[in-house]
């Protein structure tokens, strides 16, 4: 117990003496933690949006124009009994054209059509996006020759909006990469600044270290004060950043969520604030411990 106080006293003494570099490290930690605190919910929202699009995806089963009403009705039943299918809807040729017109906005293209080239189709919705492929397999199981063999002769083709999904994933993926790179760079910056603080501290206290070694202090006895010093930097930086984040939440995000559904929606899709705080705080302390540990290993010859 007395020993712990000795370590903490030594760490505070070192922080006081190294005020400028310590402050730089603390400020960088604050900025990093704030950015992380903003990035994590944003990333999660993006992820949630992408998941939402994916879960709304459906298969379209196009039917030949010459299919009879009976054939269509029996196909509908067959589709409905496929496992994981949550609903089956029918879009007639006329409805399909209307859909296309709505999508295109510009009707010059559809105006030039003298007949409706679009097939009537079934909209097969899955209970889960992950089951889409299995459903597609069930509709067109591979035949003896390996070629897909539709379960009904009236099926012209099966298609989905995978292109659209790809687009969404591309956008969120790019966003995610950019944010991760920024966060990564900031993490490295704070690691290095904490390391630098410890390095300066080792330099200012080389006399103490020398004396400790001479009188036979153990390796970890010499290291602990430096370790605690580094962790204190992370602790203070993390605490200040979380305070700022909390103020931001109370003054900006919470009033907005009353008016904007999207902001409010985040509350359901993202982490709860206390959990976010805990994660940020733990990572601030962990990163600072890592920064000091690595520096000690490199620069403190014991």
């Amino acid at each position: 117990m007395g020993r712990l106080w000795f370590f903490i006293r030594e760490a505070f003494r070192a922080l006081r003496r190294n005020a400028a570099p310590s402050l730089a490290a603390i400020v960088t930690t604050i900025v990093t933690v704030i950015l992380l605190g903003v990035l994590i919910p944003v990333l999660q929202t993006a992820q949630a949006k992408s998941d939402e699009v994916r879960s709304s995806l459906e298969l379209r089963v196009a039917v030949f124009d010459d299919a009879t009403k009976a054939e269509i009705a029996s196909l509908r039943e067959d589709l409905a009994v496929i496992p994981n299918v949550s609903s089956v809807g029918f879009v007639s040729k006329a409805e399909a054209l209307r859909e296309l017109k709505a999508d295109l906005e510009d009707d010059t293209l559809t105006a030039q059509l003298n007949s409706n080239p679009l097939p009537a189709n079934f909209v097969v919705k899955a209970d889960d996006a992950a089951n889409l492929d299995a459903i597609r397999q069930a509709i067109t199981p591979p035949g003896p020759s390996g070629e897909p063999q539709p379960i009904s002769p009236v099926i012209e083709s099966v298609f989905d909006r995978s292109e659209e999904r790809g687009e969404i994933e591309q956008v969120t993926g790019a966003l995610r990469i950019v944010l991760l790179v920024i966060t990564g760079l900031l993490l490295i910056a704070s690691l290095m600044l904490i390391g630098n603080t410890i390095r300066l501290s080792i330099y200012t206290r080389r006399r103490e270290v020398e004396v400790m070694r001479l009188v036979g202090a153990t390796r970890w006895f010499i290291r602990w004060p430096f370790m605690i010093e580094g962790v204190l930097v992370g602790f203070v930086g993390g605490a200040v950043a979380i305070l700022i984040l909390w103020l931001g939440k109370v003054t900006i995000v919470d009033p907005l969520s009353d008016t904007f559904a999207l902001v409010a929606a985040q509350d359901q899709t993202t982490l709860s604030f206390p959990l976010l705080v805990a994660i940020l705080f733990a990572s601030a302390v962990l990163v600072s411990a890592l920064g000091s540990g690595v520096t000690l290993r490199r620069f403190l010859r014991v």
């Binding site: 006399r207 009188v215 036979g216 202090a217 390796r219 006895f221």
Partner: protein, 289 residues
């Protein structure tokens, strides 16, 4: 348990002498010498040969000088003894134990049993005299009670009881060296190494420091003093080991202070004039402050 950190080590050496015991000390025959070098060669990376086949033994309770010109390997020898360096060849034994092969984890334990004093004192400038000495005990995990008991006692021994709360830069060179000796001795190590302890001090102050080391030697601690102060060595008339270009060229006991010694120096060294109680019998010490 005041002696806890060094107890195991001491008992292995078969002695339990405590500071303060004033019986006359003679090197003990039998039992392993406290320092033993056996054909030790040290080559620094880059090929510089610092020590070449050095063999010597220093018994418990001895007071020995290690002399020689700059670059003859004196400091290398000290560094080998505290395992700051490992020998290239040969064996370095402290208290009968080969320390060349000492695992890194055991090195702190070795150093707790060796007090070290240097020319540049190595005091912590932002701590008081008391804290400097207490620091040596704190970092080896001594209890507060132990620190409160031993630090004033040791500072009394070196004659600095009145300067407990001064900072090193408020002290004279001689007093600073006394603080560093107190720090080396506060744990009562069985072996004390002094690397040029009076190198930065004037001759009169140097005598005071030697007196103190001799007094510490009389409590049972083996003392090895590295110096190039020939005059001092000749006056002290103790064992002298001389190194030249990495080899031992002289190793002789030049007698001791017998009861017949009547020179002022002899009388003083015999410990009959208080050491550390400055200004009591020796006017020289007063000028040091």
């Amino acid at each position: 348990m005041a002696m806890a950190p060094s107890l195991r080590f001491r008992s292995r050496m078969g002695r339990g002498k405590r500071q303060g015991q004033e019986a006359p000390r003679r090197p003990r025959r039998g039992g392993a010498p406290i320092i033993e070098l056996d054909d030790v060669t040290k080559v620094y990376p880059g090929g510089h040969l610092a020590l070449e086949r050095v063999s010597l033994a220093i018994n418990r309770g001895e007071f020995a000088f290690l002399v020689g010109p700059t670059g003859c390997g004196k400091s290398t020898l000290i560094k080998l003894l505290i395992r700051e360096l490992a020998p290239t060849e040969g064996e370095v034994r402290v208290a009968g134990r080969d320390i060349g092969s000492l695992p890194e984890k055991k090195i702190p334990q070795l150093r707790r049993n060796i007090g070290t004093v240097f020319q540049d004192f190595k005091l912590l400038p932002n701590r008081t005299v008391y804290d400097n000495v207490a620091y040596a005990l704190q970092v080896i995990g001594a209890s507060r009670t132990e620190i409160r008991e031993k630090v004033p006692e040791t500072l009394r021994l070196v004659g600095l009881s009145t300067k407990l709360h001064n900072y090193p830069d408020q002290l004279s060179g001689g007093e600073q060296q006394r603080v560093s000796i107190a720090r080396a001795f506060v744990n009562h190590p069985p072996l004390l190494l002094a690397d040029e302890p009076s190198g930065n001090l004037d001759p009169v102050t140097s005598i005071g420091i030697m007196q103190l080391l001799y007094r510490i030697n009389r409590t049972g601690t083996t003392v090895l003093v590295v110096t190039h102060d020939r005059e001092m060595v000749d006056k002290m008339q103790r064992r002298v080991i001389e190194l030249f270009e990495g080899r031992v060229v002289r190793d002789e006991v030049t007698g001791g202070y017998t009861e017949e010694s009547t020179t002022e120096f002899g009388v003083r060294m015999r410990g009959e004039m208080g050491v550390g109680v400055e200004g009591q019998t020796n006017g020289h010490e007063a000028g040091e402050r």
